[in-house]
């Protein structure tokens, strides 16, 4: 093949090639330096927030005692706080935030729209409706996480049917999602109204998304879900990059857009359901974490890992605020994320409408 010069001059110096991690001939992986740096910074921030969570407040462990307490098995207050109160809660917060972040990243890529997040399309509402049904109306029939998964699946199926074109028309499924959310909300409110007052209070807190009183079994569930699903998400990552350029383009390049889409949605639904069954539908983390990850990492890709880390950071920070709040009552963390996230979503709306992509 002969090379032809274009009309413009060739660049004088050869631009720097991107850095690559090589292991012989078999492995050759590109390294995104910026993403790596940002990722490490986020991890540090999470550790810091975790440290604060465990040490602040009247029940906090003194900083000097923290490390020894983590590795030995202290009795007394410290042991209680660490192993029953804040320890499991922190662990659950990290994993739930990560799960929400990844779920949001997957959905936003599949829908090619930052506003196409599980929160907007009713996934959280569906999962909580399912959880409410299983927990309150028919207790003992199924474990609550199963109810959440079924509820989320039902919501997704309804949205799929409602749009008639799957998930490739973002405008449409956003609206349908809102409709499905409304149905789910009304149903859940009905369940609350029927419950006894104490039950209703507890359920209501849960339905706003709360990390209070989480135990180690919750932690196992959510970390297990992460361990199983995030690798799959990473495998789908490259194909998702291509789907960003349009289904046709992706198909032309050999990435099967239909299958990739379905697989991504399935993974996202499972992650979302796991998060909801552990902590209730925490609003807007799935929406904001991938957006913030993109801004920090400045890379156009899906950024699964970075979204996970950012999600974890957001939730841990929010939970820290809620636990140390000045109000007499400790509010569900979902209320804080709803308000802050809602404002951010409003900002996104304005930005997207200026760009004309909505």
């Amino acid at each position: 093949m002969s090379r032809r010069q274009g009309p413009a001059a060739r660049p004088a110096r050869r631009p720097a090639a991107r850095p690559v991690l090589r292991l012989g001939e078999a492995v050759s992986l590109p390294i995104d330096r910026r993403a790596l740096t940002v990722g490490m910074l986020v991890v540090v921030a999470i550790l810091l927030a975790g440290f604060l969570t465990l040490t602040l407040g009247s029940l906090g462990i003194a900083p000097a005692q923290l490390l020894p307490a983590l590795f030995s098995d202290p009795g007394g207050t410290e042991g209680f706080v660490l192993s029953r109160l804040r320890g499991p809660r922190l662990t659950v917060a990290i994993a739930t935030g990560a799960a929400l972040g990844v779920s949001g990243a997957l959905f936003q890529t599949v829908t090619r729209n930052p506003l196409g997040s599980p929160d907007v399309i009713g996934l959280g509402v569906g999962a909580s409706a399912g959880a409410a049904t299983v927990g309150l109306l028919y207790p003992g029939v199924l474990p609550v996480p199963a109810g959440a998964l079924i509820g989320a699946a039902v919501a997704i199926v309804l949205v799929w049917l409602g749009t008639g074109r799957g998930f490739s028309s973002p405008a449409r499924f956003i609206i349908v999602g809102i409709g499905v959310s409304a149905m789910g909300s009304a149903y859940t409110q009905f369940v609350i109204a029927r419950a006894g007052r104490e039950q209703a209070l507890v359920l209501s807190a849960y339905l706003n998304g709360t990390l209070a009183s989480r135990g180690w079994d919750d932690a196992v569930l959510i970390w297990g879900a992460l361990a199983a699903l995030v690798p799959i998400a990473l495998l789908l990552g490259r194909r998702l990059h291509l789907i960003e350029m349009g289904d046709e383009m992706a198909d032309a390049l050999g990435a099967r857009s239909g299958r990739t889409r379905i697989a991504s949605i399935a993974v996202a639904v499972c992650l979302s359901a796991a998060a909801v069954s552990v902590a209730g539908p925490i609003a807007f983390v799935a929406l904001t974490a991938p957006q913030i990850a993109k801004r920090l990492g400045r890379s156009p890709g899906t950024g699964i890992l970075l979204s996970a880390l950012t999600g974890a950071l957001i939730l841990v920070a929010a939970d820290l605020l809620v636990q140390q709040s000045l109000m007499g009552v400790q509010l569900p963390v979902g209320i804080l994320t709803a308000v802050v996230g809602g404002v951010y979503l409003g900002y996104l709306l304005i930005r997207e409408s200026r760009k004309g992509t909505l």
Partner: protein, 262 residues
């Protein structure tokens, strides 16, 4: 010349609406095939079927003599590249990164970016003269520049077949001819091109093989000089015209007749 790409008895439909019926076509190896026709004649649909991005409800598409379905999608992508009509550029992507995405068919899980990929991207940028734009954001480019970047992306795929769906739409006239000249150079360097175009005169100028479609079928195909006659233009487009040799290139040029005013 054996056809590198061919279709036999194709029926293409969207839901229940049949767009193309019983269509067979051979794409000559090493040629510059241009498909023209009035709106909604099925030319884009045919191109998509040839690129296997839509599945025919009847008939088959053959790549190198074997049915398209016998290949895995990535395998096809190493031999055939297609640029659809309105590809979407992701947010905040640089020119170099976008072109790099075209290397996907050659990559695998463990070998995600190699020296060969780097070289392919550089060559594609050179061929389309977008080297100086390498680190700019695609979103900031003009329409003409962006189109060249997309073509660079499909070039980076390093395929023998290039399918382009209306690559000149939305471009101003100078950029339209820029893109077409680029296609001509790619053709001269040995690739087989199949391009859907709107403009008859552009098609006549650049095509070695002109395919004229109407209502989901092929009305005529062959060299532009043989195919493009005033009778054909009237039959297909309903436009009375005069076909004369282009003063610059000698290829047929369509000049619409003025409607008689009483």
């Amino acid at each position: 010349m054996s056809p590198i790409l061919a279709a036999r008895g194709l029926r293409l439909a969207y839901d229940s609406r049949v767009v193309v019926e019983n269509l067979s076509i051979d794409i000559p190896d090493g040629g510059f095939t241009v498909i023209v026709g009035p709106n909604a004649c099925g030319k884009s649909t045919l191109l998509k079927a040839l690129a296997r991005t839509i599945t025919p409800s009847a008939g088959e598409v053959l790549l190198g003599g074997s049915p398209m379905l016998s290949y895995r999608s990535k395998q096809v992508a190493r031999r055939l590249a297609m640029l659809p009509q309105s590809p979407i550029s992701p947010d905040a992507i640089t020119v170099r990164d976008l072109i790099g995405r075209g290397r996907y068919p050659h990559q695998s899980l463990l070998r995600q970016w190699t020296a060969a990929d780097e070289t392919a991207v550089d060559e594609a940028m050179a061929a389309t003269a977008v080297g100086e734009l390498a680190d700019r954001l695609v979103a900031e480019l003009s329409g003409g520049q962006r189109q060249r970047v997309w073509i660079a992306m499909v070039l980076a795929q390093q395929t023998e077949l290039l399918l382009l769906d209306e690559p000149t739409t939305f471009l101003d006239i100078a950029h339209q001819y820029d893109v077409l000249e680029l296609c001509a150079r790619l053709h001269e360097s040995g690739r087989t091109l199949v391009v859907v175009l709107h403009d008859l005169n552009q098609a006549a100028r650049y095509a070695t093989n002109l395919v004229v479609m109407k209502d989901g079928g092929i009305l005529a195909q062959g060299s532009p000089t043989d195919v493009l006659t005033a009778d054909l233009v009237e039959a297909v487009f309903g436009l009375p015209s005069l076909v004369i040799p282009d003063p610059e290139t000698g290829t047929p040029m369509v000049v619409p007749r003025r409607p008689r005013v009483r």
